[in-house]
């Protein structure tokens, strides 16, 4: 029983990682209706920037907020430079641009920062009061951060005029333009926010999995699965989905099918759920008017 609990809690800890990535994906989806395949590599790259800042002597929190700001501006810049030219092109053209960005970020990170793994400091050191048998303080801390980001986002979209404008721009670009919203800039802002969330996720993940250019490759997939499981248009659902995927994967691997096929079975289960609930567990059912 003790071991089982251990597996569940360890699954929750990794689930927290997936949840933060899922959240970033939902963010971009809400404001652009695209799923960004380069999200993970962008987050990794931001984390490398944070690492470089810390290495050169900046205190952790300075580096942290500087990186979030760089992510925000960088994300917007990427949207303006790389995606605006294909804004009106078919979806798959955008997908290919995402793939292009993915390989560029991955390759450049390897080139500049090398492939040896780097230890990334945690803002929640060991030995604090909420260090328990099942969770390290960093794991608890990073889950808290994820939830905090979630609440902040919710408040932003729900209660601020800018958030409202962003939602409007994504849902109905034409009408939004008519009431004076600069739709194109709203898209850029969406990218910026998503990159910033990605950067936070990266910095929370790095102390656990170590920083290297491929850090986010595996995580992105699980984040993707979590986001879709919970419903791609629902931030709460995405976070929940992330936790479910983390726990499911651990319990399946440890007790049911062994580690050799755990990825396969976890994915089959997720796809199975999706065929029963095609918009995710908490997704909005879209009714099409003919």
């Amino acid at each position: 029983m003790e071991a089982f609990l251990h597996q569940v809690f360890s699954g929750l800890a990794t689930g927290g990682i997936y949840a933060s990535m899922a959240l970033a994906l939902v963010m971009i989806y809400q404001s652009t209706h695209h799923i960004n395949f380069s999200q993970g590599e962008m987050a990794t790259f931001c984390t490398f920037i944070a690492w470089a800042l810390i290495e050169t002597g900046f205190p952790y929190w300075v580096a942290f907020f500087a990186t979030v700001a760089i992510g925000l501006v960088g994300g917007m810049a990427i949207q303006r430079i790389f995606l605006r030219p294909v804004e009106n092109a078919p979806i798959l053209t955008n997908v290919i641009v995402f793939i292009g960005l993915l390989v560029i970020f991955n390759s450049t990170a390897g080139w500049i920062f090398d492939h040896t793994i780097k230890a990334f400091p945690s803002p929640f050191p060991r030995g604090t009061f909420f260090d328990t048998q099942y969770f390290s303080s960093h794991e608890i801390g990073s889950i808290m951060v994820t939830l905090l980001v979630l609440v902040a986002l919710y408040a932003f979209f729900r209660f601020t005029p800018l958030g409202l404008a962003m939602r409007a721009a994504a849902q109905n670009p034409v009408s939004s333009r008519l009431v004076g919203i600069r739709v194109s800039w709203m898209l850029a802002l969406g990218w910026g926010l998503a990159a910033a969330i990605g950067a936070i996720a990266g910095m929370m993940v790095a102390p656990i999995v170590y920083l290297d250019p491929n850090m986010m490759a595996g995580i992105l997939l699980y984040g993707f699965a979590g986001a879709l499981l919970g419903g791609i248009d629902n931030p709460w659902g995405a976070v929940f989905g992330g936790f479910v995927v983390g726990v499911l994967e651990n319990v399946l691997g440890a007790y049911v099918i062994g580690t050799e096929l755990k990825l396969t079975v976890a994915l089959v289960l997720i796809v199975g759920v999706l065929t029963l609930k095609p918009t995710g567990l908490f997704g909005k059912v879209v009714v099409t008017r003919v």
Partner: protein
């Protein structure tokens, strides 16, 4: 305004458009037949690989371009095809040419079965399901209880087929690679003709109708579920045949040959070539076969970065792929001719 009939009457240098087309086709045909004897064996091998990719891309294009279903997992069908051929040849001594129909059939069934649950999934959800398929493939191929057949992590090493006849042309012998060139060319030609036949007929129209107006299509009596699953099956069959050919040409299969990047590469080829077009597959195949080599020559430090820049640059210049650009140019020219 020129009527289409009149266009055919126009003469350039004394020949009608139709005559020019026939002449071009004959010259092209002769070139295709002579070419392998003008090139080194390894160049021929590269072309063989490109033809294999072209078949795989054509398969994906049927699904994505004509039917509007996105697949990030066609590498899985490529793997199934490759392993079917390899296991048949290696374990059961089946001649290489006989493995292709089997591989195609196996993938047809696999694709059809996968297409059934995929019916309920759309857009990103379908992308995830197929992505999952691609990720799971190497893991399944490595699974210890299949090891007896799949060779586990070590894969299967095959023998390259010998040419059936001894033959020499322009002082160059019909080597294994040149023989495989003709074999692959024949298979590719059959597959392309077959695709052309499927796509311009009833089924092809139904596929496009489902992509553009699913509800209207259903109202017109198109069996949505059947056509979509069948498209998935046929698409998988194409990719499977390509996988089997790939295994024969490379003479080796291993789980690591069929990772997620293969699926992404096939998708890249399909989009770069241009969606909803048969000849586009050839352009896509040329891109995925040769551009990584160019990237490697430009930078050893970050070849992927160069590749990514190429990819994005191409999408700017030709947002609808090479074929899209050609169509645009063609339309302009026709307008100009009027």
């Amino acid at each position: 305004m020129t009527q289409p009939g009149q266009l055919a009457e126009l003469r350039y240098f004394g020949l009608t458009v139709r005559q020019w087309t026939i002449l071009g086709a004959i010259v092209g045909m002769v070139l295709l037949l002579v070419m392998p004897f003008l090139l080194r064996n390894y160049r021929v091998f590269q072309i063989n690989l490109a033809m294999v990719y072209a078949i795989a891309i054509l398969g994906l294009n049927m699904l994505t371009g004509y039917n509007g279903q996105i697949s990030l997992g066609h590498g899985a069908f490529y793997a199934i095809g490759g392993y079917t051929a390899a296991i048949l040849m290696h374990r059961y001594g089946v001649p290489y040419w006989a493995t292709l129909p089997v591989a195609g059939f196996v993938c047809l069934v696999a694709g059809f079965l996968f297409g059934l649950p995929a019916l309920r999934l759309q857009g990103h959800y379908l992308a995830l399901a197929t992505f999952a398929l691609a990720l799971a493939t190497p893991q399944i191929l490595k699974y210890k209880h299949f090891e007896e057949f799949t060779g586990g992590v070590q894969g299967i090493v095959l023998d390259k087929p010998e040419p059936p006849i001894e033959f020499s042309f322009l002082g160059q012998a019909l080597s294994q690679d040149r023989w495989l060139y003709f074999f692959t060319l024949l298979v590719a030609a059959i597959m392309f003709l077959l695709a052309w036949n499927i796509l311009r007929g009833r089924i092809g129209r139904a596929m496009i109708a489902i992509r553009d107006q699913p509800i209207a299509a259903a109202a017109m009596g198109v069996n949505l579920a059947m056509v979509k699953s069948l498209t998935f099956g046929v698409s998988a069959m194409y990719t499977g045949v390509a996988g089997a050919l790939g295994a024969i040409v490379v003479a080796f299969v291993a789980p690591d040959s069929f990772n997620i990047f293969l699926s992404i590469t096939i998708l890249v080829g399909a989009v770069v070539g241009g969606l909803a077009s048969i000849p586009a597959a050839i352009f896509g195949a040329i891109f995925i076969q040769y551009v990584p080599n160019i990237a490697d020559q430009i930078s050893k430090s970050a070849p992927w970065a160069v590749y990514g820049v190429f990819l994005i640059g191409l999408m700017y210049l030709m947002p609808t792929g090479v074929m899209g650009l050609l169509r645009l140019v063609g339309a302009r020219l026709r307008k100009y001719a009027d």
